[in-house]
Amino acid sequence: MLKIKNKKNAAGNILQKKKVSRRDFLKMSGAVAVSVAGAMSAKEVFADKKPLSGKRLAMVLDLQRCTGCGGCIISCKNENNLQEGATWSYKKSTTAGKFPNVRYDYIPTLCNHCEKPPCVEVCPTSARHKADGDIVAQEPELCIGCLACMEACPYEGVIYFNEEETHRFWRDRKALIKGCTDSPEDVSKDVKGRVVPYYNPDREQNKKGSGLRRKGIVEKCTFCDHRVKKGKLPYCVMRCPAEARIFGDLNDPNSKVNQVIGKYRPMRLKEHLGTEPKVFYVRNYNPAVYKKSVGSL
């Protein structure tokens, strides 16, 4: 049976656990080397129709509306064709206190699309770059899998490294009951999917390598660039059953995101590091009331 590794919280650990071997590294870089001859400007690589230029896109997460259901995580995996174990949208949950005074905290997490992203600073190939809309974008074809971004990013679990060939689950050729069930690979072929039977073609948008990302590179939330470019909200925003995710332009003083962070004091993750995240959190997961009391000695 196919083993599926769960790499939750392991984003940072990969760096410790698996150093990219010299040989691997040379392979990747070798590919790069071949390319010298036909050099073209990077601008063309990232050519957009620029409907987003001048925008500073941000997400506000209303924790009171959030029910901790995980719908964002699954729908993100669905929209972006993420392989088993990979997450771009995730969460941190903790249970605190002692019975019966127990509290559960839950915050959805994703790439913070920092105004000052350390990952962009360190990326040697500009695979990680600022794109229109101030999106911290990731160009799969430029990534060489050096993992510098993962090391530089102060946030856990928002960048995922494709250590092995992706979607191994769906590339398996073994059937459970011979002659009666299909192998995962055959299912995908049967339904004319692409590796993944429920493969979402909209993720590609004619941008090579972004529908399914290859082995040896990192991947992460792109604020659903393929959707926002077409004027659609990110998929997690659309699928959150509680409408706890609000998306919009910080440069527009009247945008909903500005209205909400104007009303509630927002929290951002690791704000002290000066990365200026554009993912904001407002209100409390549980705004419970309690009976007025000054306590006692």
Binding site: N6, K19, V20, R22, V32, S35, V36, A37, A39, S41, V45, R65, C66, T67, G68, C69, G70, G71, I73, I74, E79, K91, T95, A96, F99, V102, Y106, E121, P124, T125, S126, H129, E141, L142, C146, L147, A148, L176, I177, G179, C180, T181, D190, V191, G193, R194, P197, Y198, N200, P201, E204, K208, G209, G211, R239, P241, A242, N286, P287, A288
Partner: protein, 860 residues
């Protein structure tokens, strides 16, 4: 290129890159690589897809959804904005349907068993066969029963169903000639319905008007996680918290408790005590809702409820002869009797000792709840109901809605709105002598026997006792069963006491399983018929209610059918009817031919037409403008299928006040309705109600049996030997026990508070863990009086000391290669139902899941 040739470590490379600005250099040189990729990486899909309406049956919320279909292939799922119940909201489990429909482990064609031996440890040796061979075999077996006049030895078992069910469940069983159509309902939550039926005459699940509520008090219900209307409640919960105070009664810190103002971590099974104490506090504080309940007579010498003091039901004024009622009830019945027999002594101090909830919290919650009357919801879930004496827990908790007048009221508990679907043609004229004789035999589930009153809707013996069937098969009582057809059920996994089912199914000579997956039930089947998936591949409809509306939502084939599979409730019975007709018995086919297309008047000519016509036939009142009765106005069948859903008219609040379907037409605190049902049952066996109560394990005697009241939990196992009480509950990712083969389920299992990804954990309070020497992550066994399972220990503060909380859903030893650790051999984690004993709330017929299992923990 320099950097390619340099033998740099990754770390060194990064340093260099950052320091020297290699970044730009590399980037500008990359484009040709892109070109190279471009040549081999053409986009495979030119056009975008289309959203098509259908229904999610991942749980019994039955949300109307839309599926994003690209070239006949399902890609995404979202809520159907046309629905007034769930609207565009869809819960996390809805997306997992994609991993179900395209699960590699789905059975793609019919199979037959080659190993004649049946048992948990016998590999069935399934091999593929044609539909022809499969159905011929099944038809031969049915004809054999008919030729031998033993059609009662045929049984149909139902699991997840749509309202197309009657085709296979009712009509087919009757026309073949058997009384044995057994539904899964009693392992769902029938005891919950008992609570509302014997107080307000409503046999059904309530909807909760949280948009207008000011207090929400939940009992063993976890609506942001599981059942019912999860999507709708997810969409409203955060906003509701601004308006309403929320208190959750649950031994476990549930997902809903994490988003509530108060958690009342009650000792398992003591809900009735807390409910009676709440009622006591409400009455003694004068907080009952007078517009619904009424008030003391203005002339009555007694004007208040005083703890421990009886109140005379009647009084006589000085100088008058006629007696007057002390308390003039408006829309309720029996308040003073209830007070005298049950409530007067149920003080918060009394309840605190029993429930483990402090006196202060009992008073605070009871008063807060009652002060919000009538916009105060008392939300009764499976927790207090699905226990051995749970019907009274359901009554005791539900009765609080009567006290605060929230029944049928704005911001309260509502019944389902009216809908206008029809019925399939009657089978009677197609039942021949064999069938009529066969059907007269007793049902296999023991309903209506002295020990199993199963008082559904006031009629003894009308409710199902699903889980009893395993014992009935083993004991051949009332008779043996020779042929079984079962669909979308998995009783050896979903029923408590799983081992009995493994033994029982091993004894049945011929079993057919209609299923999407090789489930635990399938393991014992002779013929396996692969079923379509409800959301993507099937015609059908379901009705569901929430948000003060009811919707009727269509199940539609929205994707291309790729495999050799058929629809459980329509196509397969038609195909079988054809085979029976080939063998000279055409009654079933003739009956099915009556399901004519309302638009053309044509009889179905094949299974595909039958599936469609049957649906059009039965839903006609909703879509045919000529038959319009109410709710959404649709212009025709095409309109209905495009929208995917019909919505009812808005709710009429308080319409049932004084017109409830109880004996007294009122909300009964003293249930004349239950008294009549119990009397009828006792008379049938020429015995007393007290004796019936005793036989059925209840403690109440006399009038108490007709009232909401506290019963001590009935528990299997002594505390000295089994120190912990098992708290079983449902996952927010469970698609009714069918999603464990989805990788998304396993990856995100920790979305259930306290749980872990890819694991099955028993959550134990740290106080207990240190007592028994268990550490976080230890592999452990949970052992009850009837069985044992292996799982992982998790120290978690969200469980009451003395209890072990464990989610239902894992522990599959079949179903697929993800669900099972080793398919057919080793389970992933442990199935709670292996250690929960098969016991019942006998008045409702329900299986008990809660507060009956004591366990010990053994470290492996």
């Amino acid at each position: 290129m320099d950097i390619a040739k340099k033998k740099l470590s990754r770390r060194a490379f990064m340093k260099t890159a950052a320091a020297t600005g290699v970044v730009a250099t590399v980037a500008y040189n990359l484009k040709p690589v892109l070109r190279a990729f471009a040549a081999t990486d053409k986009p495979l899909f030119a056009a975008s897809g289309e959203w098509k309406a259908t229904t999610c049956q991942g749980c019994t919320s039955w949300c109307s959804v839309e599926v994003y279909v690209v070239d006949g292939r399902a890609v995404k799922v979202r809520g159907n904005a046309n629905s007034k119940v769930n609207g565009k909201a869809s819960c996390p489990r809805s997306h997992m349907a994609l991993q179900q429909v395209y699960d590699p482990d789905r059975i793609k064609l019919p199979m037959k068993r080659t190993n004649p031996k049946k048992g948990r440890n016998e590999d069935p040796g399934f091999v593929p066969i044609s539909w022809d061979e499969a159905l011929n075999t099944v038809a031969d077996k049915i004809m054999e029963l008919r030729n031998n006049n033993e059609t009662h030895k045929y049984m149909l078992m139902r699991g997840r169903y749509s309202y197309m069910r009657d085709i296979i469940y009712d009509r087919m069983t009757k026309i073949i000639g058997s009384p044995n159509n057994i539904s899964h309902s009693a392992i769902c939550a029938e005891a919950e319905k008992f609570g509302s039926y014997y107080t307000e005459g409503l046999w059904g699940y309530r909807q909760y008007d949280i948009k207008n509520a000011r207090y929400v008090l939940l009992w063993g219900a976890d609506p942001v996680s599981a059942n019912r209307q999860v999507s709708y409640y997810l969409s409203e919960w955060g906003d509701m918290l601004d308006r309403a105070e929320v208190a959750v009664v649950d031994p476990r810190f549930s997902a809903t408790a994490t988003k509530a103002d108060e958690w009342l971590p009650i000792k398992p099974g003591e809900d009735g005590a807390l409910a009676s104490a709440f009622a006591h506090v409400i009455l003694t504080n004068g907080l009952w809702y007078k517009d619904f309940v009424g008030d003391f007579d203005k002339d009555s010498p007694v004007k208040e409820f005083i703890p421990k003091k009886r109140i005379l039901e009647e009084f006589t004024l000085k100088g008058e002869v006629n007696k007057k009622l002390t308390f003039q009830e408006k829309y309720t019945y029996g308040l003073i009797k209830w007070w005298n027999v049950e409530l007067k002594d149920k003080t918060p101090e009394w309840a605190a000792k029993i429930t483990g909830i402090s006196v202060e919290q009992i008073k605070r919650v009871a008063i807060g709840f009652a002060k919000a009357a009538p916009h105060a919801i008392c939300w009764v879930g499976g927790g207090p109901s699905m226990q051995v004496r749970g019907c009274y827990g359901a009554m005791a908790t539900h009765a609080l809605n009567g006290l605060v007048g929230s029944v049928d009221n704005l911001g309260g508990t509502l019944k389902a709105n009216k809908e206008y679907t029809g019925k399939f043609p009657k089978p009677d004229s197609f039942m021949d002598e064999i069938a009529k004789k066969g059907k007269k035999h007793k049902k296999m589930d023991h309903r209506g026997t002295k020990e199993f009153p199963a008082l559904k809707k006031g009629k003894p013996g009308s409710g199902v006792v699903t889980n009893r069937v395993a014992d009935a098969i083993l004991d051949k009582d009332p008779n043996e069963i020779k042929v079984v057809i079962a669909y979308m059920n998995n009783f050896p996994f979903s029923c408590p006491g799983t081992e009995r089912w493994e033994k029982a199914l091993s004894k049945i000579p011929f079993t057919v399983h209609i299923t999407t997956h090789a489930a635990e039930f399938t393991w014992f089947a002779d013929i396996v018929l692969p079923s379509t998936h409800h959301m993507f591949e099937k015609w059908g409809y379901v009705k569901s209610h929430g948000n003060a509306y009811r919707h009727v939502t269509l199940l539609k084939p929205v994707t291309d059918l790729v495999w050799d599979i058929r629809t459980d409730e329509s196509e397969i019975p038609w195909l079988l009817a054809e085979k029976l007709s080939d063998r000279g018995f055409d009654n079933l086919l003739m009956h099915y031919m009556e399901y004519k297309d309302p638009e053309t008047g044509k009889s179905p000519a094949n299974e595909k037409e039958f599936a469609l016509y049957a649906l059009k036939y039965v839903t006609r009142n909703l879509w045919d403008p000529k038959e319009y009765k109410g709710g959404d106005k649709l212009s025709g069948w095409k309109d209905f299928t495009a929208r995917g859903v019909w919505n009812s008219d808005p709710y009429h609040y308080r319409a049932r006040w004084g017109k409830m379907k109880t004996k007294t037409k009122k909300f009964e605190f003293y249930s004349e309705t239950l008294k009549a049902a119990l009397t009828q049952h006792a008379e049938k066996y020429k015995t007393s109600i007290d004796k019936i109560m005793s036989l059925c394990k209840y403690q109440a005697r006399g009038d108490k049996a007709f009232m909401p009241h506290y019963e001590e939990p009935f528990v299997w196992g002594r505390k000295s030997e089994f120190p912990f009480q098992l708290v079983d509950y449902k996952s927010r990712l469970n698609r009714e026990g069918r999603s464990a083969n989805c990788t998304w389920y396993q990856e995100l299992k920790d979305i259930d508070p306290g749980d872990e990804a890819w694991d099955d954990v028993a959550k134990i309070n740290s106080v207990d863990a240190s007592k028994v020497g268990i550490k976080n992550g230890d592999k452990i066994k949970l052992i009850s009086k009837i069985g044992e399972i292996e799982c992982t220990a998790k120290l978690w503060e969200g469980v009451r000391p003395g209890t072990v909380a464990k989610c239902y859903g894992q522990g599959h030893w079949a179903y697929g290669k993800v669900a099972a650790k080793k398919f057919g051999k080793v389970a992933r984690g442990g199935n709670n139902n292996t250690i929960i004993p098969a016991d019942y709330d006998r008045l409702s017929g329900s299986s008990a899941f809660y507060a009956l299992t004591r366990v010990k923990i053994v470290k492996l």
